[in-house]
Every structure is written in structure tokens, then in C-alpha cells.
């Protein structure tokens, strides 16, 4: 004996038209970028799909994994949980803005030296999050680093080395 059901029936019959595109100006890694996007575009998708800044990763799209972490006015946020249009006028730093392959940021260098990643997919988010955490200045001990880096998942399980890499930078004498 079978019954019937309908998927997505809440959308029926009125389907709202999609929103119109608009111009959004974002300041990313010190450069102003203009793009034509719908207002429902997340900052994450704006970076990856419209600006070809694919260093910022999508791991869940729900603010649960931290792979999309970027710095907005120096503060770490999940770029999947913010709309691009909300960040006009803000200073956005992505992994591409921290260093280059020939001129690595100290945290990027520490991640390489400590083998603080395997597949590399969560890595940009881990590094941006670590930069943000060091700026916050609250983490002083290993336990505090572990706690305050717990918003960034790593399925390869590189946590031991991630914490060592961050500790090295935390303990570096300030120039």
C-alpha cells in the first residue's frame, strides 16, 4: 500500500522572483573590487565565484567548520555567514593577502615547517583564524590555543601540528 507526498510544496504556488543584481564595492587585501551581484550572495561566494579568490574555502556553508574564515577589520569571521553587501567599506583580508609563496607570512611559514596540514583544505581558514586569534591576544597557553582554535575543523586531524605552529609564532620575540 503506498501513499503520496510532495517535496518542496511550501514553494507552491507563489515563487518569488529572484532579487535584482546591484553593484557592491569591496576592499579586499587592500584593493577595491567592484562586482555585480545579487544581495543574497555570501561574502564567501563573492570571493570564490565572482572574484576568483579561491583560497578561502567552503566546507559546510553553515558556519560549522571555519574553512571560510577571513579577517574583516582584523577580526576573524565565517565568510559563509555574512553577505557580501554587508561588508562594503570594511577592510577584508583573505589568505591571499597574508603572504605569497616566495614571501610567506610567519604563520604560513610555521604551518609549512610544522607540517600543520595534510590535504590543505582547512588550512587557509586555520591560518586566518590563527592571525585573528593572535590579534585578540587572549591565548597565552597551549590549552588556550586549543580552545580558541576550536572553531576550525580539520578532518585530517592535524591539530597537534597546527597548535605547535601557532605556539612558535606566539612565542617569537616581537621585532
Amino acid at each position: 500500500m503506498s501513499t503520496t507526498t510532495t517535496q518542496a510544496s511550501l514553494g507552491h504556488p507563489a515563487i518569488a522572483p529572484p532579487p535584482a543584481l546591484g553593484t557592491v564595492t569591496l576592499k579586499i587585501n587592500g584593493v577595491e573590487r567592484q562586482l555585480e551581484i545579487a544581495p543574497w550572495t555570501t561574502l564567501l561566494d563573492a570571493l570564490r565565484e565572482y572574484l576568483d579568490l579561491t583560497g578561502t574555502k567552503k566546507g559546510c556553508d553553515h558556519g560549522q567548520c571555519g574553512a571560510c574564515t577571513v579577517l574583516v577589520d582584523g577580526k576573524r569571521i565565517n565568510s559563509c555567514l555574512t553577505l557580501a553587501v554587508m561588508k562594503e567599506g570594511a577592510d577584508i583580508t583573505t589568505i591571499e593577502g597574508l603572504g605569497t609563496e616566495t614571501n610567506l607570512h610567519p604563520l604560513q611559514q610555521a604551518f609549512v615547517d610544522h607540517d600543520a596540514f595534510q590535504c590543505g583544505y582547512c588550512t587557509p581558514g586555520q591560518i586566518c583564524s590563527a592571525v585573528g586569534m593572535l590579534t585578540e591576544g587572549k591565548a597565552k597557553t597551549t590549552a588556550e590555543i586549543r580552545e580558541m582554535m576550536s572553531g576550525n575543523l580539520c578532518r585530517c586531524g592535524a591539530y597537534t601540528n597546527i597548535v605547535s605552529a601557532i605556539e612558535e609564532v606566539l612565542n617569537q620575540p616581537k621585532a
Binding site: T5, Q7, G59, I95, Y159, T160
Partner: protein, 744 residues
């Protein structure tokens, strides 16, 4: 040629700078021109038939290009074999969008393609689908009596060996006897990168496919067979893969969808799955295991019986080696190993890191702990007393086995001798302390693999093999092997992988990549070295005249005589002196069949775990782990250590967190996201020590490599559960070991 400049050194990953700067590009990150976006729609029911897909309603939205479903997908390959990939199990593979039948919850039933990702996502959520619903059955617990023994079908699966001795009688006569059932629910791989394929449409049927996979060639073969493409038309690239753990061994449905849409729309298309949809494909199967052990008066194992029953789908018979390991890990003359499947309405399970062995070692190693306690013997001493010197399943000698050294070195590092046996007898302030041990065994496999090496006049060596690097360190260790073989600095060597225009390499799985690709790289570099020596011997005034390849060594950028290392030719000069632009060699490495057949080829580990439990709250922390691994030659202790660290995190995760919880009312995993499907975060992971007990082994393969990606996971979950018992006196045989089970 024995001098080692690169192999065995803890070098940084050569692809590290690309990964830490965002320069490494994964499948969904190739922003080719004029790209359309596809979003998959998942069924809301677990079983039934689609009556109608109301595509017209969303096609009316401006910017929505097409809705693909069984109602409009053109007729494709007809035979099952066209849909079978390299590791397909027996049965009839699932064909996306090619029939009205719904076989499991969240089955992909449509693909919505639009001009932007946002539009495709919006429209996909509005797509109305009418179903005839049938009653589903998703509960393995009700199938204990409905198991069946699978036929053959999947690469690498070995049916359990026939019983040996008289296990039933010896169990009856045993001095001490234990029996118990061990259970874990389904677990999902959940690599950080979600499955995605970007298909660049290059006209006619010519495609460049950027796929998330553990094997570009497997994806290529699949789309060639299903869509009738030739090799040139089906060019697959996979340079970086954001985690696999087995989930990328079979082509996933986004690949089918993206290729279909690109060919039909004659346009480049990307399809990325959502985290929720990562639960709509293969998984480690929900497994029920029964173990019965008995001992003789001297503490030796009198008999062993291990039975496993796990789920499979209605359409394929997924198999993994769950119980076989129990017949080879300990010396025991009376053994019965049995293995069954039961069909329920889920997607076909799929190999997940150390498939079968992670499952089997959990049950066996918990049972061994219970047996040790029943017989009044220390759990480590009990394992040493029953040490297997030979593989009794295969009746062969091990090519090498240093598990005993793993036990001793691991125990010494951990401080096992300070353990008091009584459960609840060790404390740290108010916290209960528990120490547990467990062990594991895994195949040291090797597969046929091809490679190509090119030396250019500037002295740079490029080596190609179409393998993969899912985070394992393939780029790095292959560069080390090539640099070592031809005596070049690391910077003068580039290793490339992940492209079907390269020489063919096997899927990245089974812990066989280091051995397969490594020996292929070694062979092709040796071949190039022989050519290079011949060219060098044509140079005027050179000192290598008459020397054979065995008479020379490639060191520090030179070819020099073993008998007098001051007699040398600089490698950089050779091509120029001969007026050559480049020198090439190509080769296919074949495993030595005699060594493969004569010996039992395996890696082993011993893992020691400390847990601290708050008796009032039931919170459990894994405070210390020592994992001692004997896996042949370690090519790079830095990347190898990372693999084992990751394995330990996986074991802790399996022990304490992971379970895909099925709501049998809906036939759906209800915790299908990262928020509710728990994996460890940084704060969950404390001290982990990795010990490598190196084995010299020229029988396993010429380079003596056994592979390190899976063995480190074995026994970890059992050691955690055993430690929890030692702390509390509670045996938790149903993973995960969670607060409520500890508190009951």
C-alpha cells in the same frame, strides 16, 4: 648508491607553500569562462517512485537554464558494466537521474542548472516533486537473522578463510571464556572539501573535467563508458584533493551530473554538493559483531570466533574485510570467522579509512581486553603471550613483522609498567584514570603503476605519474625518491600527478600509493640514469669509461665511480655536451609476483591510550596516546608522522564521537551536518606520540615501503574503550563511548 640524501629525511612538503597561500586549486576552484552552476536535488523520501517533477515551475525563473531528471535525461549506456568503476562491489551500480525509483533517502533525483550558484540553489529548493511512497526498512538491528554471505565482486575483498581446528569444542573446554556483541552505527567520511566537479566544455564532446576524486583515471573511465567519450574528450584533472578517506574512491554523482549538463547544454558547468549531501553517498557501514574467545590454563588462546554482519544497499553488495584479521593477529589453532551482509534501504556503503580493519579491530581488541581480564593477565602481556610468528590464515611467513618491538617501545614510552590492573584503581585528583592497549594489522599492498621522467638541459628533472595526493604527501615523497635516485637536489626535481594525460597510476587507496608510485618513480629514474650514464660516457675525457650502472653512484649532482668518488661527471653538463635538449624515460612498474605470493605482507601497530574521566559528569578526555607503528621503510618521518597523528584523531573520533544517526521514521540520517555529526576539534586533542619501528624488507617491494595511511587508525578506538573500562569498570561495546553510557 646506498647514500641517502633525501629518503628518510623529515623534509617539508613541496606543495606546502601552495597550500598555505591559497594557491592550491581544488575541483570547484577552476573558474573557467561562461560557467553555469548546477545544484543537486535530494529525495525527501527513502523509498518509492517519482510520479512527477514540476520542472516547468522553476524553469520560469529567469536565469534557470535546465532541470535534469529521469524525465528528460537522454538514454545513456545500458549495461551495468558501463557504470562499474575500479572498486565497484557486486550488484548493479546506482545510475543517477535514470529512473523513477527512489532507493534511499536523499538520493539525487534532479539537477537544477542556472546562470549563478545563488539562482540554482534558490530554484532547487523550490522544485516540487510528487512521489508514491513505499514503506522503507533502514534498521540493521532487525536483520540479525537475515544475513547472507556475499559472492565475489569487489577488488581487494577476500572471503573469510575456512574454520581451522575445532573452535566449538575448544571454546566449550576453555579455562576462561568471554563472548560479547560489539556495535557501531554508520560513519561518514566527511572530508573537508565537499564533492565537486567543474567541467569545462571545449566544443563538440571535448571536456576538461576538474574532479574531486582519489583517482583521475577511475573518473575518466567512468565518464568514457557512461557517456561514450574517448580518452581525449574525457580529460580529467585532480591536482589537489581536500581529503578523501575513501569517499573519493568511486566516482560520485556530481561528476555524472556535471558531465551530463555540460554535454547537454554545450556549456561549462560546475556541480558542488552540500555538506548535507555528503551524507547521501557511501559510508562505513553500521556493523554488528560477535566475538567469542577462550584460553588455555597457560593463558594462550584456545579458540576464537569472530562474526560480523553489516548493512549494504538494496542494489549493491558492498564488502570489506572485517573478520579475516582476527585469524592472523594472534597465534590460535582453533578459529572460526564468519561474515554476512544484510540489505536495507540506504546508499551503498563505501570504503572508509582502514575499511573492515578499523571495524574488526575494535571488536577483537575489546574482546582481547575482556579475555585478559577474565584470565587474570595484563592486557599487554596477554597479547605478547599470543604473538603470531606466522600468518596462520595464509599459512605463510611474514615478509617482516616488528610488532613485538612496537609493543615494547610503545609500552616503554607510555610507562605501561606503572599501570595497576584493577579498574578504577588509578586516579588524578578527582578524575578516574584509565590505560588501555590495542593492536592492529593492515595489508602492505602494491599495484601496477607507470611513470615518466624527463631531464632537461638545464639539469631539471620532471617526473610524472597520474596518481593523487589527498594529503598523504605523495608530491613530497615522490620528489624525494626521484632526487635520491638521480642524486639531485630537491629543488632540481618536480613531481607532477593528477592528470589523465600522464602515465597511469592506480587509485589512491589501500595504503598502496607510496609503494606503487614510489617504486615506479624509482624504476623510471633508474632507467633514465642508465641512459644518462651512456650519454656521459660519450663525453670527451670523462672518467666513467667502461663503468656499468652498478659501478657508479648518483650523488650531489654527479655521476661518480663507486671505486673512486673523485672520478665524476656533473649531471647538468651531460645533455649540453651531447647536444641534447632533453632525455626521457617511461616505464611501467609491475609488482614481483613471486614475492607477492610467497610472503604475507603486512604492517602492524600497537597503541596505548590514557583517558581521564570525571566520575560525576561522565566527561572523558583522551589525555595521552602513544602509537608505535611498524610499516617498513619510512620515506619522510615528518609527513608519515602527520598521517599517524591524523589516524589517532580518527580513532579518538570513532571511539567518542562519530555516528550517523538514522531516524527510522524517515529513513534518513538526522545529524547530517558538521554541527551534529561530531568530529574532534582542537580542544579534544591532547598529547600524541608517534613511534616508527623501521623494518628492512626487500620482499615487500624493492624500496621496502608498506604504506602508512591506514594502519595507524587500527586499535585506537578499542584502546580508548579499554581505557574507559580500566578507569570505570564499565564495558562499553556500543560506540561511541559517550557520557550517557558512562553515567548509566
Amino acid at each position: 648508491m646506498s647514500m641517502t640524501n633525501h629518503i628518510g629525511k623529515p623534509l617539508n612538503r613541496v606543495d606546502g607553500p601552495a597550500k598555505v597561500t591559497g594557491g592550491a586549486k581544488y575541483a570547484a576552484e577552476f573558474n573557467v569562462p561562461n560557467l553555469a552552476y548546477g545544484v543537486a536535488v535530494s529525495s525527501s523520501i527513502a523509498k518509492g517512485r517519482i510520479r512527477k517533477i514540476h520542472a516547468d515551475e522553476i524553469l520560469a525563473i529567469p536565469g534557470v537554464l535546465q532541470v535534469f531528471s529521469h524525465e528528460n535525461v537522454p538514454s545513456l549506456a545500458w549495461f551495468d558494466r558501463s557504470y562499474k568503476d575500479d572498486v565497484a562491489p557486486g550488484g548493479s551500480p546506482f545510475r543517477p537521474l535514470q529512473g523513477a525509483e527512489v532507493k534511499y533517502s536523499m538520493q539525487p533525483v534532479a539537477l537544477v542548472v542556472a546562470e549563478t550558484f545563488e539562482l540554482a540553489r534558490y530554484a532547487s529548493g523550490l522544485l516540487r516533486i510528487d512521489y508514491d511512497v513505499e514503506k522503507h526498512d533502514t534498521d540493521l538491528e532487525t536483520k540479525r537473522d537475515d544475513g547472507f554471505e556475499p559472492g565475489r565482486g569487489k577488488t581487494g575483498w577476500v572471503p573469510p578463510p575456512k574454520p581451522r581446528g575445532n573452535p566449538d569444542k575448544e571454546l566449550r573446554n576453555a579455562t576462561h571464556r568471554v563472548e560479547a556483541e560489539y556495535i557501531h552505527l554508520a560513519q561518514h567520511h566527511n572530508p573537508m572539501e565537499m564533492f565537486a566537479s567543474t567541467v569545462e566544455f571545449l566544443g563538440d564532446k571535448k571536456l576538461t573535467v576538474y574532479d574531486k576524486t582519489q583517482g583521475a583515471f577511475n573518473s575518466q573511465q567512468y565518464i568514457m563508458k557512461v557517456f561514450g567519450l574517448n580518452k581525449d574528450e574525457a580529460h580529467v584533472i585532480s591536482k589537489f584533493t581536500g581529503g578523501g578517506f575513501g569517499s573519493g574512491l568511486r566516482p560520485q554523482y556530481q561528476l555524472f551530473m556535471a558531465v551530463l549538463a555540460a554535454l547537454e547544454l554545450k556549456r561549462s558547468v560546475r556541480v558542488s554538493l552540500t555538506r548535507q549531501q555528503m551524507f547521501s553517498m557511501g559510508h562505513r557501514p553500521h556493523t554488528l559483531q560477535y566475538v567469542e574467545l577462550g584460553t588455555n590454563p597457560d593463558g594462550s588462546l584456545a579458540a576464537l570466533h569472530h562474526h560480523a554482519l553489516h548493512e549494504t544497499s538494496q542494489y549493491e553488495d558492498y564488502t570489506e574485510n572485517v573478520v579475516n584479521w582476527s585469524g592472523m593477529l594472534y597465534q590460535c589453532d582453533n578459529v572460526k570467522l564468519t561474515y554476512q551482509l544484510a540489505k536495507i534501504d540506504v546508499a551503498t556503503p563505501q570504503d572508509m579509512r582502514a575499511p573492515g580493519a578499523a571495524t574488526g579491530s575494535f571488536a577483537l581488541e575489546c574482546a582481547m581486553d575482556e579475555m585478559a581480564y577474565a584470565a587474570g593477565i595484563d592486557p599487554l602481556e596477554f597479547r605478547l603471550r599470543n604473538y603470531a610468528e606466522r600468518d596462520q590464515n595464509a599459512n605463510k611467513d611474514f615478509s617482516s613483522k616488528k610488532l613485538r618491538e612496537c609493543y615494547h617501545e610503545g609500552a616503554a614510552k607510555f610507562g605501561w609498567d606503572k599501570r595497576t590492573a584493577e579498574p578504577g584503581s588509578m586516579r588524578d585528583g578527582d578524575l578516574l584514570v584509565g590505560w588501555g592497549v590495542a593492536t592492529g594489522v593492515w595489508d602492505a599492498s602494491i599495484q601496477k603503476c607507470a611513470a615518466k621522467a624527463t631531464l632537461t638541459a638545464d639539469g631539471h628533472l620532471t617526473v610524472l605519474s597520474g596518481s593523487n595526493d589527498i594529503g598523504t604527501g605523495t608530491y613530497t615523497i615522490m620528489t624525494q625518491i626521484a632526487a635520491e635516485t638521480l642524486g639531485l637536489p630537491m629543488a632540481a626535481v618536480t613531481f607532477q600527478l593528477g592528470d589523465t594525460t600522464m602515465p597511469e597510476a592506480p587509485l589512491q587507496g589501500g595504503s598502496w600509493t607510496a609503494a606503487s608510485v614510489g617504486n615506479a618513480v624509482k624504476q623510471v629514474c633508474d632507467k633514465l640514469g642508465e641512459q644518462l650514464l651512456k650519454l656521459a660516457q660519450k663525453m670527451e675525457g670523462q672518467p666513467l669509461k667502461g663503468a656499468s650502472y652498478e659501478d657508479v653512484q648518483f650523488v650531489n649532482g654527479q655521476i661518480r665511480l663507486n671505486s673512486d668518488i673523485t672520478q665524476a661527471v656533473v649531471i647538468r653538463d651531460i645533455l649540453a655536451a651531447n647536444g641534447e635538449e632533453k632525455l626521457e624515460a617511461e616505464n611501467t612498474m609491475m609488482p614481483n609476483p613471486v614475492n607477492q605470493l610467497k610472503n604475507s605482507l603486512h604492517a602492524h601497530n600497537a597503541v596505548f591510550v590514557e583517558v581521564k574521566i570525571d566520575p560525576e559528569l561522565g566527561t572523558l578526555r583522551v589525555t595521552r596516546v602513544v602509537n608505535a607503528v611498524a610499516a617498513g621503510r619510512i620515506l619522510n618521518p615528518k609527513t608519515a608522522r602527520s598521517q599517524v597523528l591524523g589516524s589517532v584523531v580518527w580513532g579518538i573520533s570513532m571511539a567518542l564521537m562519530e555516528e550517523s544517526v538514522m531516524d527510522h521514521g524517515f529513513g534518513r540520517y538526522i545529524n547530517h551536518n558538521y554541527s551534529e555529526y561530531h568530529i574532534p576539534v582542537s580542544a579534544d586533542i591532547h598529547d600524541i606520540d608517534v613511534i616508527f619501528v623501521e623494518e628492512e624488507d626487500d620482499k615487500v617491494n624493492p624500496l621496502g615501503i608498506k604504506g602508512i595511511g591506514e594502519v595507524g587508525l587500527l586499535g585506537v578506538a578499542a584502546a580508548v574503550a579499554n581505557a574507559a573500562y580500566h578507569a570505570t569498570g564499565k564495558r562499553i561495546r556500543n560506540l561511541p563511548v559517550s557520557i550517557e553510557k558512562l553515567m548509566l
